[in-house]
């Protein structure tokens, strides 16, 4: 077995800190399988009760945008202010926006 096969696979950990909020990416860890990854995420990332729910995703299941395409991929969004909802006033009662 090569070293990479001997090592536990990498998992991305997503934690929801409160009911009603989205899961947020909080880090990654090594674990032998999905169930163990959840167990270990509980100990590594929620020891101080940071979360009510945990997701784990195999890191190799994530496809990332290519940074080399940045110029055509990201930059054209920057100068179109009409796409930003900044012309509204948010009432104080609306939280988590």
């Amino acid at each position: 077995m090569s070293t990479s096969e001997k090592e536990w696979p990498l998992w991305e950990v997503f934690i929801r800190s409160k009911q009603g909020l989205d899961h947020k990416h909080c880090g990654s860890l090594h674990a032998p399988d999905a169930k163990m990854a959840i167990r270990l995420a509980r100990d590594v990332y929620t020891r101080r009760s940071e979360g009510v729910s945990i997701w784990v995703v195999p890191s190799n299941a994530i496809t990332a945008a290519d940074p080399a395409e940045r110029e055509s991929f990201v930059d054209p969004m920057a100068d179109k202010i009409f796409r930003h909802p900044t012309f509204y006033e948010l009432p104080d009662e609306v939280k988590h926006m």
């Binding site: 032998p32 399988d33 167990r39 270990l40 509980r42 590594v44 020891r47």
Partner: protein
């Protein structure tokens, strides 16, 4: 609840917590290092509550520190299983699953007690121990039903540890109802071991006697390390 019984509960948690703390920096993975430390701290937290209660029941002014750090080996009332050296990772998690399954059942029973102090500590601890049992059972299943090498190590650990579990269930003056937990414990452990493809060893005649204060040769060394700071610097604070 009496002094002796509270000591048993406190010492089981304290000694197993100390053993688990020995894995710090030595676990097979960083993630497991943190998990071991968490579980160790859960157990030491439980030990503090039980030993404080024991001191109060004794009524001679001994607090948790006096009981943890200033008793001799023969005065410790933990079962022998929890004081055995960690061995390899398989030995550590097989020992844990055998104890965690018992510990959970015991706390479940104590949480129903009419004694409010006792029931409160037991209920709080039970939640922690349910997680401990899941964690250790998951590992035992993975090692037992893993590679040839992990299976061999897990089975060897189980064979070595099995006869130390009889001590949990021997009734005596301090715990006349100890035998009641044997059947539910055996059912739980059998189901875990079956999933782990491990063979339940035959019961031997050996009976360990840690609860009576007659320990294996290993406890003295553990206590020396655990108690040295407090004995060298009485009342030392961080």
């Amino acid at each position: 609840m009496n002094f002796e019984y509270a000591l048993r509960l406190g010492d089981n948690s304290l000694i197993l917590g100390q053993r688990l703390a020995e894995w710090l920096g030595h676990s097979p993975a960083l993630e497991e290092d943190i998990a071991s430390a968490n579980i160790s701290l859960d157990l030491i937290g439980q030990a503090r509550l039980w030993l404080t209660l024991a001191g109060r029941l004794e009524g001679r002014g001994r607090d948790e520190d006096a009981l943890a750090y200033l008793r001799e080996e023969r005065e410790f009332r933990n079962c022998t299983l929890v004081e055995l050296p960690n061995g390899d990772f398989a030995f550590t998690v097989v020992r844990r699953v055998l104890f965690d399954a018992y510990h959970g059942l015991l706390l479940e029973r104590l949480a129903l007690s009419g004694d409010a102090d006792l029931a409160a500590i037991a209920a709080k601890s039970k939640k922690e121990v349910d997680y401990h049992r899941r964690h250790s059972a998951d590992w035992v299943i993975r090692l037992g039903d893993g590679t040839e090498e992990s299976h061999r190590r897990a089975q060897a650990a189980l064979d070595a540890l099995w006869n130390y579990t009889h001590e949990f269930f021997v009734p005596d003056a301090v715990d006349p109802g100890a035998a009641e937990l044997h059947a539910p414990w055996l059912a739980d452990v059998r189901s875990i071991l079956a999933e782990a493809t491990l063979q339940v060893p035959a019961d031997g005649k050996f009976l360990s006697t840690g609860r009576q204060g007659v320990h294996s040769e290993h406890l003295g060394y553990l206590l020396a390390e655990m108690q040295v700071l407090h004995r060298a610097h009485p009342g030392a604070k961080w």
